[in-house]
């Protein structure tokens, strides 16, 4: 692209690598940033650097955090005998929005997907089993997405967990097949949590 000076072309190229951003949007964003009010572009650059530097995964639950353990894991008011297993940190946000859940979480960081080379060893399953085998947990809620990979992962986890946890449940009740949790409205998500069933 010789139409733009090289530093601008580099910015466009960098933006284009972001998920969901095509060449046209990248150009628009780059041009906006060039003429943005004083401090805005610098603020964005600094925010990216800060987040990159300060955010890491909680050593207990795998959530994104800037303290270890994370705020949710440190919260004394939460019920540590109730553990909700999710695919990604963004799913924790979805459940927290409902205000219905007062237990703690475990993030798998993905789902089983043989075609993408993702097997049990690539997910935080060993960490989950270790956490659960300490014996304080009374119920594990499997809250992977209600699609083929999510169901297969939940059933696989259920087999591993049933011998070591008193109760293993699966959300899904009322959740439409194939819709991702992060897009579910809070009412539907609350219902799926309350209507969870033993598997």
């Amino acid at each position: 692209m010789h139409l733009y000076p090289s530093s601008l072309a580099a910015l466009i190229e960098a933006l284009r690598k972001l998920p969901g951003i095509g060449p046209k949007t990248a150009q628009r964003l780059a041009l906006y940033l060039l003429h943005a009010p004083e401090g805005e572009a610098e603020g964005l650059a600094q925010a990216i650097l800060d987040a990159r530097e300060k955010i890491f995964f909680c050593s207990v639950c795998g959530n994104l955090t800037d303290t270890d353990p994370c705020e949710l894991c440190r919260d004394e008011k939460r019920d540590r005998s109730l553990l909700c297993v999710v695919e990604w940190p963004r799913d924790i946000i979805a459940f927290e929005r409902t205000g219905e859940f007062n237990g703690v979480y475990h993030v798998l960081h993905g789902v089983l997907s043989p075609m993408d080379g993702i097997g049990p060893d690539d997910l935080k399953i060993a960490e989950l089993l270790k956490r659960v085998s300490k014996g304080d947990i009374k119920e594990v809620i499997l809250a992977t997405n209600p699609n083929v990979e999510g169901e297969a992962t939940a059933l696989y986890l259920a087999q591993l967990l049933k011998p070591i946890v008193p109760k293993v449940t699966r959300i899904a009740h009322g959740l439409p097949v194939g819709g991702d949790l992060e897009f579910a409205d809070t009412a539907t998500l609350s219902r799926s949590l309350l209507g969870r069933q033993v598997i």
Binding site: P114, A152, P176, V177, G179, D180
Partner: protein, 259 residues
């Protein structure tokens, strides 16, 4: 081309952008193709159910500049048992990956479509390991790589000699070799007459019949190793899901031995 209908099986599905998915479909009418399904990660999407992984589905697509878009869909069959068992899920993933890697884009091969469909159906009750071998052999056959099993690839004579306990196979030459010729063929690998018989039986029988055969784990293992070499050589493929398929089978075997 504008708008077109396609009876499809969803081979792959990956998250794209905010709420979309990019699908790899195997269609009866147009062979393998990629298409985008917009908004299907939202719980409000009406298309969602029709584009789930491994679903047999009727889709309406419109042609786009780079990718075609799924505009409407109606699921015909969902194979929910694939979610219940990691071995079945992995076997289906392996077959889908094999098709994705071995078949060219937009080259209609209805036999491939029906092979995938009958395999997904047969996984319900069939032995997943035998079914994967059947799938490999039949796919190789359809794509023009059928291993030659009835006569020696070194000449036009029968390969199986009366009472021979050991036969040979050449991956490079793509078929069986008689004991006499094997002495002059460096790359020949051993093949048991039983495994040869099973492979020939699979190739001449319909899938629904072949899957009923009772095959010993030892012979299935021998076929797995041979077909793996054959696929690597002729199809130039190294599949992600293969590793899990073998790992699961091995863990199953050790579990059964322990019991």
């Amino acid at each position: 081309m504008g708008i077109y209908k396609a009876e499809s099986i969803v081979l792959r599905s990956r998250v794209y952008g905010e709420a979309d998915r990019i699908l790899v479909l195997y269609t009866r009418e147009a062979g393998k193709l990629s298409a985008i399904a917009k908004g299907v990660r939202k719980t409000t999407s009406r298309l969602r159910g029709a584009v789930q992984l491994f679903t047999h589905t009727h889709l309406l697509l419109y042609t786009g500049k780079t990718l075609d878009t799924v505009s409407q869909g109606e699921a015909e069959e969902q194979f929910s048992y694939l979610e219940q068992d990691l071995q079945l899920f992995t076997a289906a993933s392996y077959c889908a990956e094999l098709v994705d890697r071995l078949t060219p884009d937009r080259e209609p091969q209805p036999r491939v479509f029906y092979l995938i469909l009958s395999t997904l159906r047969a996984l319900k009750d069939g032995n997943p390991e035998l079914l994967t071998r059947i799938f490999e052999l039949k796919l190789l056959d359809i794509l023009g790589y059928r291993p030659r099993l009835n006569s020696c690839v070194m000449g036009d004579h029968p390969a199986a000699v009366e009472g021979a306990k050991q036969l040979w196979f050449s991956i490079e030459r793509g078929g069986v070799i008689c004991p006499a010729c094997a002495e002059h063929c460096k790359e020949a690998i051993p093949l048991s007459p039983a495994a040869l018989g099973v492979m020939a039986y699979i190739l001449r029988s319909p899938l629904q019949q072949a899957v009923k055969a009772k095959i010993s784990p030892k012979i299935l293992r021998e076929m797995a190793v041979l077909l793996q070499k054959f696929l690597t050589y002729h199809g130039d493929v190294k599949l992600q899901s293969r590793y899990f398929l073998d790992a699961l089978r091995d863990s199953e075997t050790t579990r059964h031995k322990k019991q």
